[in-house]
Amino acid sequence: MPLSTPQLAAEAAPAHAFAAFSFVDRIDEFEPSRRARGRFLVPAALAAFPACLVAEAVGQLAAWVAMDAVDFRGRPVAALAGETRFVAPVAPGSMLELAADIESCDDDAVSYAGWAAVDGRRVIELHDCFGPLLPTAEFDAPEALRDRLALLRGEGAPPARFRGIDALVATPAGGERGQSRRATLAVPASAPFFADHFPRRPVFPATLLLDAGIRLALELASELPAWPAGTPLRLVSMTRVKVRSFTPPGQRLDLTVSLQESARDGASIALAVSADEKSVATARVEIRAGAEENRR
């Protein structure tokens, strides 16, 4: 499934910062070093807005608080996420309400929790997230970030600048039916989002990598004998996310998903991503069978 509308991305993808991979339009509440509340309008023209990008939006809001807390000396990068609960899908055109609560932040690292909601109803929850802070200047212009935060906290950025991301299709590479699946993902050598993530050092966003892994996990789940073929499957949560290294443009990634547990109504699937036989990221994906929403 494409991440969003490829044709839009091909026509007029913004190749500059704060547009191609930025998911906070405005910050309405900001308590330095502690918390923020913000929003992001998911452009109505998109075909879809994957759950991983909703998580990215929450993470970016937390990153603004963290960078401000250390006077933009450091910027957090994705590393650990204890649990992300996917409560409900987000439709294009939705106004995402974003929340980030900082648990601790210093020059070394930030830990935080957060959530996103649409019309007051939670769509995603992030718990036990942790990211080391690396020197900002390696990735971005600190002054540009400072100015951007001032804009977000003031009048806000023009909404609907995100134009989607070209479909990233993993190529099947074998596996054992009902037990595991392997695929390769060719990270593009160039893409608009690299101009935003990050301007001075392009890095393939971990959330896109995880999104590819989730899709592979859903494919594996679809062939499990525990439920009839064609049963709707829902992503419930992703736990134990650990991102070990940066993925540069042009990198070939090897994705493996393997069944850990299967019950009558769901499955737990381990995801491992590697590059050149070195681990890049690991996570656990929980999938539920059935059509009802994940709301608790």
């Binding site: 590393a79 650990l80 070394d108 690292a109 036990d128 942790f130 080391p132 991102v243 070990r244 690991t282």
Partner: protein
């Protein structure tokens, strides 16, 4: 000066620490021996150390600043007494061996650089980290 950490204290936290190490590294609990080298024997990387510290902070409701192990290992020595130009001094090595008493003597090499200290870390090192953090939390009231 802080009281030395006892074996009883280590034994009391080891089961939980070992579980977290196994979970963080994705290895079998049985492989998490008290004196196993986390890097050499269990394949830990720097992100795994962050992961373990993060989990321990949550589980034990303590704060463990980054770099705390080296700070603890340095004991009463000043930075200059402990290392010179990134290489651990003779006095520093004696202090390090004393703090990391669970590490087999053969794993210490001379000279040792400060950045190489994590190669010596074992599950017991993290037990000690938790115990000292618990003591500091208790002392802070």
């Amino acid at each position: 000066m802080a009281t030395a950490i006892t074996q009883d204290e280590i034994d009391s936290v080891f089961p939980t620490v070992a579980e977290m190490v196994a979970d963080a590294l994705g290895c079998e609990l049985a492989d998490v021996k008290p004196d196993a080298s986390l890097i050499e024997d269990l394949g830990a990387e720097s992100i795994d150390f962050l992961d373990m510290v993060f989990r321990l902070e949550r589980s034990y409701k303590v704060k463990i600043p980054r770099g705390k192990i080296v700070e603890n290992a340095r004991g009463t020595l000043s930075e200059a007494e402990f290392e010179q130009n990134g290489v651990i001094t003779e006095a520093g090595m004696a202090q390090l061996k004393s703090y990391l008493s669970e590490v087999p003597a053969g794993r210490f090499k001379t000279p040792t650089k400060v950045k190489e200290i994590p190669r010596l870390f074992t599950p017991v090192t993290f037990c000690k980290l938790v115990i000292s953090a618990q003591r500091e939390t208790k002392a802070a009231g």
